[in-house]
């Protein structure tokens, strides 16, 4: 089948990017979306043109490397699917597709469809963990965890950190990503000692990274390839509110 592709090309962060038109005639319906771009890149190289840069690694939908907008939708039209797992059989011959990188102030474009998501790492660095140095652990069964909590924590922990939630959000907020980590650790008994300090630290870091504010629109949930639920944001807000009162002194210190 044939596709008309308009792809964002940008040499580096300092260059002005633009959409470039490509006619792709060698699309097979069994290809994944990234394989379709691999074939296009091989053709571009043969013609002496610079291939399109995009992030990818596992191609199984778990590493979170890949992701870009397809006709304005993060990871494209199939729900609960990363772009590496999206196959061309979901498109029709003659389709016109617009591919763009994630757009957010906190995710500067590196090249073409590649963006810098290191802000996510800095959010986790600010407190998205349980402080337990190696060797300090009690027996795994010493602290029972109610199955329901373990299951809900797992639902939140499946976040792959791809950034689709930020890209889809009109405010470019990182609330789903941050809320997922707050929820994962906050639901487990092991996460309780640092629960309130954690939420304060993460929320402050999110602000410093220049992500927008969440206004409960829900676009993030709609595009999340792991189908993480909006309730993680509500949980984060609840913990934040409580932490703000309980540990108001700490909160003020952190925001200075």
């Amino acid at each position: 089948m044939k596709l008309t592709l308009h792809i964002w090309r940008q040499k580096n962060p300092n260059h002005v990017g633009r959409m470039v038109l490509y006619e792709h005639n060698k699309v097979n319906r069994h290809m994944s979306f990234l394989e379709m771009l691999d074939v296009l890149n091989e053709e571009l190289i043969a013609k002496g043109e610079d291939p399109i840069a995009f992030d990818h690694d596992c191609r199984e939908g778990i590493c979170g490397s890949c992701g870009f907008m397809i006709n304005g939708v993060a990871h494209g039209p199939q729900r609960g699917t990363t772009v590496c797992q999206l196959h061309m059989r979901h498109f029709k011959d003659g389709d016109v597709l617009y591919l763009e990188p994630w757009r957010a102030r906190a995710f500067p474009v590196v090249k073409d469809l590649v963006v810098d998501r290191s802000a996510f790492d800095r959010i986790i660095t600010s407190g998205g963990f349980i402080s337990v140095p190696t060797g300090n652990a009690p027996d795994g069964n010493a602290i029972p965890v109610p199955k329901r909590n373990a299951d809900l924590a797992m639902d939140a922990a499946t976040c792959i950190g791809c950034g689709a939630c930020v890209a889809a959000c009109p405010n470019a907020a990182a609330a789903l990503f941050t809320g997922a980590k707050i929820t994962h650790l906050g639901l487990l008994p092991q996460g309780q000692p640092e629960r309130y300090q954690r939420v304060l630290n993460l929320v402050v870091q999110v602000k410093q990274e220049l992500f927008g504010s969440c206004t409960n629109i829900g676009e993030c949930e709609a595009v999340c390839p792991k189908e993480i639920k909006l309730e993680v944001i509500a949980r984060m807000n609840r913990d934040y509110l409580r932490a703000s009162w309980v540990q108001r002194g700490d909160a003020l210190r952190n925001e200075e």
Binding site: K11, N12, N28, H30, M31, S32, E35, D38, V39, E42, A46, E49, P51, A53, D57, C58, R59, E60, I62, C63, G64, S65, Q78, Q85, H87, V110, K111, D116, D121, I124, T125, S126, G127, G128, F129, I130, S131, P133, T134, G135, N136, A137, P138, D139, G140, N141, I143, P144, V145, P146, K147, A150, A153, M154, A157, T158, G161, H184, L185, Q190
Partner: protein
């Protein structure tokens, strides 16, 4: 080269404890004076970086991905073994040790495997404390499932995403140390050479993948946790970026390479559909619990599966192995799939067999099957575009894991003092075949609980001179890297690096894949140098070295695969026996099972680089079995 394995003596259950006591310690106040480089941020690399930093060392951690959380450990599905005996089903450290040595077809070191089984207990505790959401029973305790090669339930899991959850635990521990200023993280940075001064590993040369800048990093010890080399086959279940460059460059600087021909093929992967295929996707081994594997009895039968009547189907595993049936180990299942396809009875694109759930659905109902395998069925449908509730799945074996790697002693140190290899990057504890749910265990054992002790012994007992960037060995390594980068960019030939990689992969899959023979290996050994020569004359890498250039990164990795592939075939040719994943057609029982030759091949083959164009030297580390006595594996 002398291989000093440093295996402690005495009763096996006391060896590690005694060894820990005998090792020298670095005074806590002195630890911060030592700089350690860790390359790779998967389970082994991240856990090692975090643990070393917690002890007080200065750590620099490197990964080529944009975040350490994306290392390929994340893709592991099934679980992690530990001899906790929480199920009260008779499991023990000794049993896990026994199963692992036997599963590895008696080509692993007993002492290492025993230590691994002992440490497995601590790993689960550590991960639970970090907040890894393992599956639980209603009472709140941890739950287990069983896995291939074991008769007890000792596998801990977090749905089908155990690797992801364990890696996030290690990643979070790592970032905690980044926040504390004890680890400096270098993402999107690739190691391109090792710096060896006075015979000791003293640093690495890296390329910043965004700016192209070549940098030097000097240290007192270097740790490689850079994963396996499965991508030498081009198509594998590994992530696209997984490569052998770090361990290969270390080999060329003097680290011996252990058992490169030991590669594992996973029987249940989604088959190849066309030339554009970029990688293969694994479907969890657990599917074989309820699915029945078959092919048509007739050659070239192109009828759709539901039109083939029962009596014209060959359930070949059930026929040949009545007691284990569809649950034979990975290597046996894989070889049999290849055999029926070689007979011309493959389905789909001819390289595939059916994995059929029709009987299971009839017996237990669609809902029950959905509960057990729903996510896997969805994944299959997403990729193959067929509904496995209606049509049998098509599966085919694929390269999945590499047991071989850099040779290491009991302390995980390579033959270059100060250079360590951990996780899949070392030749490790799995012998000739790895059991399911053991890779995660080994990566974390190395990183959390072994390396942090053993590296201290080296630092405390070695006099390390101050080195600086002006040293000739440093300049040498740096200019070598720059020269290779420029050379790749100057060729401007006609073929892409990917096309060479595909050709190499196809050749290795045919001649050094699921089964191997002397003429085939000789043919590969003749063809690989030709391909390598053509690569250096005709590869086409556009752009420059001073920018994000993914084609350039890939070309460098393919160049190393083109060299490594030769060593793998050489090792496969020299190992004139069949064992585990290494199946030499010349050596099989009358029933077609692997036939070991313990008299001549009960050793680790450690290959030593001899210089460009020269044949590598073979060193042998004999394997001694004091506890588990070698026997022929049987699954009839």
């Amino acid at each position: 080269m002398e291989l000093k394995s440093r295996i402690p003596s005495g009763p096996i259950e006391q060896r590690w404890e005694r060894h820990r006591f005998e090792m020298k310690l670095v005074n806590p106040a002195n630890k911060r004076k030592y700089n350690i480089i860790v390359v790779g941020s998967g389970l082994a690399g991240a856990s090692a970086s975090a643990s070393l930093a917690e002890l007080g060392y200065n750590v620099k951690c490197f990964c080529f991905q944009d975040s350490p959380r994306r290392a390929h450990s994340i893709a592991a599905q099934g679980g992690i073994n530990a001899a906790k005996n929480y199920q009260n089903d008779g499991d023990s450290i000794y049993r896990l040790f026994y199963d692992t040595v036997k599963g590895g077809d008696f080509r692993a070191r007993e002492s290492n495997v025993y230590r691994l089984a002992q440490i497995s207990l601590n790993i689960i505790d550590q991960c639970v404390a970090q907040g890894v959401p393992f599956a639980r029973e209603y009472g709140g305790t941890l739950t287990n499932r069983s896995f291939g090669g074991a008769q007890v339930s000792r596998t801990f899991y977090a749905r089908g995403q155990t690797g992801q959850q364990l890696l996030l635990g290690a990643y979070q521990a790592l970032l905690r140390q980044v926040g504390a200023g004890n680890v400096k993280m270098f993402s999107r940075t690739e190691m391109l050479d090792l710096i060896v001064i006075d015979g000791k590993a003293r640093g690495i040369v890296t390329r910043n993948l965004i700016t192209g800048k070549i940098d030097l990093h000097l240290a007192d010890a270097v740790v490689l946790g850079t994963g396996g080399y499965g991508n030498v086959f081009y198509l594998s279940t590994n992530a696209k970026g997984s490569n052998c460059t770090a361990i290969w460059r270390a080999y060329k600087r003097g680290a011996a390479f252990g058992n490169p021909c030991f590669t594992q093929i996973h029987p249940t992967c989604i088959p190849v559909t066309g030339d554009y295929q970029s990688k293969l996707t694994l479907m969890s081994e657990s599917l074989r619990n309820d699915g029945r594997i078959w092919v048509p009895k007739k050659r070239g039968d192109t009828r759709p599966p539901h039109q083939i009547p029962e009596k014209e189907r060959d359930y070949y595993l059930e026929r040949k192995y009545p007691s284990f049936g569809n649950l034979v180990p990975r290597d046996v299942a894989s070889r049999n799939a290849k055999a029926v396809c070689d007979e011309g009875r493959g389905v789909g694109s001819e390289l595939g067999v059916y994995l059929d759930f029709a009987d299971a659905i009839r017996r237990w109902g669609k809902q029950s099957i959905r509960e057990r395998y729903g996510n896997l069925f969805d994944m299959y449908e997403r990729i193959a575009g067929e509904n496995p509730y209606e049509v049998p799945m098509r599966i085919y074996p694929a390269i999945h894991y590499t047991m071989g790697g850099l040779w290491v002693d009991y302390n995980l140190m390579t033959t270059i003092p100060g250079l360590y290899a951990i996780g899949e990057a070392n030749f490790s504890d799995h012998g000739a075949n790895r059991l399911g749910a053991s890779a995660l265990m080994q990566g974390l054992a190395d990183g959390y609980f072994i390396l942090p002790y053993t590296i201290g012994d080296y630092l405390a007992s070695t006099k390390l001179e101050t080195v600086d960037a002006s040293h000739s060995a440093v300049r040498d390594a740096e200019t070598g890297v720059a020269r290779q980068t420029n050379r790749l960019l100057e060729i401007r030939g006609k073929r892409t690096a990917a096309s060479f990689h595909r050709e190499l992969g196809r050749l290795l899959w045919d001649e050094c894949g699921m089964s191997r023979n002397k003429p085939g290996l000789k043919k590969a050994l003749q063809r690989i140098p030709e391909l390598r020569e053509e690569f250096w004359k005709n590869v086409n890498v556009l752009g420059s070295g001073e920018e994000l250039n993914q084609a350039l990164e890939n070309a460098g990795r393919v160049a190393d695969f083109l060299e490594f592939g030769g060593l793998m075939c050489l090792d496969a040719l020299h190992r004139n026996e069949s064992c585990g994943g290494h199946f030499r057609e010349e050596h099989q029982t009358p029933d077609g099972e692997a036939l070991r030759d313990d008299t001549h091949f009960s050793y680790v083959a450690a290959w030593e680089y001899a210089g460009p164009g020269k044949a590598p030297a073979l060193n042998k580390e004999p394997l001694i079995f004091e506890y588990v006595h070698p026997a022929q594996r049987s699954y009839k």
